[in-house]
Amino acid sequence: MRETLVIDQEGVDALIHTLTDRGYEVVGPTVRGQTILYDTITSTDDLPVGITDRQEAGTYRLETRDDGALFGYVVGPQSFRRYLTPPGNVFWKGVLTDDGFETVELPEPPRLAFFGARPCEVAAMQVQDEVYSAVGDPVYLGRRGRSFTVAVNCSEPAPTCFCDSLGTGPGVSNGYDIAMTEVVDGESHYFIAEAGTDEGSEVLALLPSRDPLDEELVHARRMVVRAAERMGRHLDTDGLKEVLYGNIENPYWDEIAKRCLSCTNCTLVCPTCFCSTVEDHLSLDGSEAERARPWDSCFTLDFSYVNGGPVRPSPGPRYRQWLTHKLASWQDQFGSIGCVGCGRCITWCPVGIDITKEAAAIRERDVRRVVVGASSAKEGTE
């Protein structure tokens, strides 16, 4: 067992400073405009102290809270994916020479410390580890391998959260260097901190800390258990892959398409989505070239463009592709569901389309069942 210690806000500051001193760029939640985004942080002053987020399908509002909590909110629209595979990342550069071309050395990727990562976020990075390891992607692996993760367990899930359905939260079980649970209890405000790796132990040992009391450990654990009971949403994963594979032709996809804007927001906020495209840039005189990787999405037409046209020209199949990939074919491809239940796609869909509701709706309208039952067959073909 690794050590579990108690630190206070000063200890959290010391943690940020220690990581910075060790050469990490500490990236954590911070208020930008009317949203909590990720950015470089240098102290707890940069955190959204005393702020909470109110989330529902298609809406997000920041509000103040009076307990001075450092982590009194859940996830915003961004994930650490932004740092692991930066949009538009230039991964090759070259210049023309007299006898051909020469590759230009690219700068070393930063050493990143992901600070305040929620359990679903940690799980999302593990999902992406599978994806990018399978292809040996140097951009992702180069950054991920040098990174440090400070996870924070959840005690107050948003109405859009459903990690409990997928076993990815609200408590983190692995994939962190340090994990914390914040406790704000009347006058006392402390963090139970636990190391998950040798480097985590090493860093933790440098912070001002004390040993936890038994009741503090029990209290912190109970908060996370209670969070699991207060999940805002639920996803029934039982036989979901078979349901989705069996409903490729379900007319309900076109019902969703009437609402769906094909705007790509769901895919771009999703912490597990990985699709990108490749663009070559050439200087006007042709002497310099670079190859970049902008983010892409299965909702764009170019995404499925093959000789002569897009494979999925209408929006129904595009939504079906997104949902079916996340929840079904991902399992065959990478051995796990591609969704960690963070709820971002629900909150940040401008028209509030909800992956849990749509998955349930397809299950309800399962064409395989409908074909057998004569009375509901009519309903299914309407």
Binding site: T264, W295, T347, W348
Partner: protein
Amino acid sequence: MALPKLAVHKFASCDGCQLSLLDLEEELLAVAGVVQIANFMEASREVLPPPYDVTLVEGSVTTPHDRRRIMQIRDETTVLITIGACATAGGIQALRNWRDVDDFNNYVYAHPEFIDALQESTPISDYVKVDFELRGCPISKYQLLEVLVAFLQGRRPNIPTYSVCVECKTKGNPCVMVSHGTPCLGPITQAGCGALCPSYDRGCYGCFGPMESANAASLAGHFEWMGLSNREIVNSLRGFNAWAEAFRKESDRREALIEIGGAR
């Protein structure tokens, strides 16, 4: 080898788009090194005779004379690229398409009998074959450079047709619709501006026209849910790209609802 000849022509428009070419400043010198500016009134009085290799056309067709002129321009060039909301969708002046142009003439001009205008302001592509349409009000100078370079290098330009939301998310903007309920046309508008308005915490005005599969009916329905009246929805869709089909159809549908239900 002679440099390719570039011509720039103007129809009903404000000049903003062709000025983007001069706006390229540093890059302009590089452009001048790879093309011969053969006919560009804003830049030089010197005009070289046709044919041209690439012609940029700004502005919409609003008069019978325009109609004849665009045919001739098409005949004189190998590649024709239209630039800006006027040339690609009819522009802000297409708002007149919903009214009687004679009423405007009588109201505005002392001698309306001298005005020979078409009933409608329409995009260049209504009259001639267009090889590439570059959107925007105004266009992005970087996109213009990209299109020119791509044509000169004989490759397909990197001009995405997806929504402004992609640029918003790429930039890391918080979404104005979701985070403070500001109506935004971004989800149905083509990228290209770099999500300019949302970057300043404002909703998108639709300067780059409908994106590749614009679902204006759904977004308008959401605007209604957010509390906008049908009149406000119609007005939001009738901007610089009012006559573009996806925007026009939904604004017409919403306007019909006002007429049925009485102005709200």
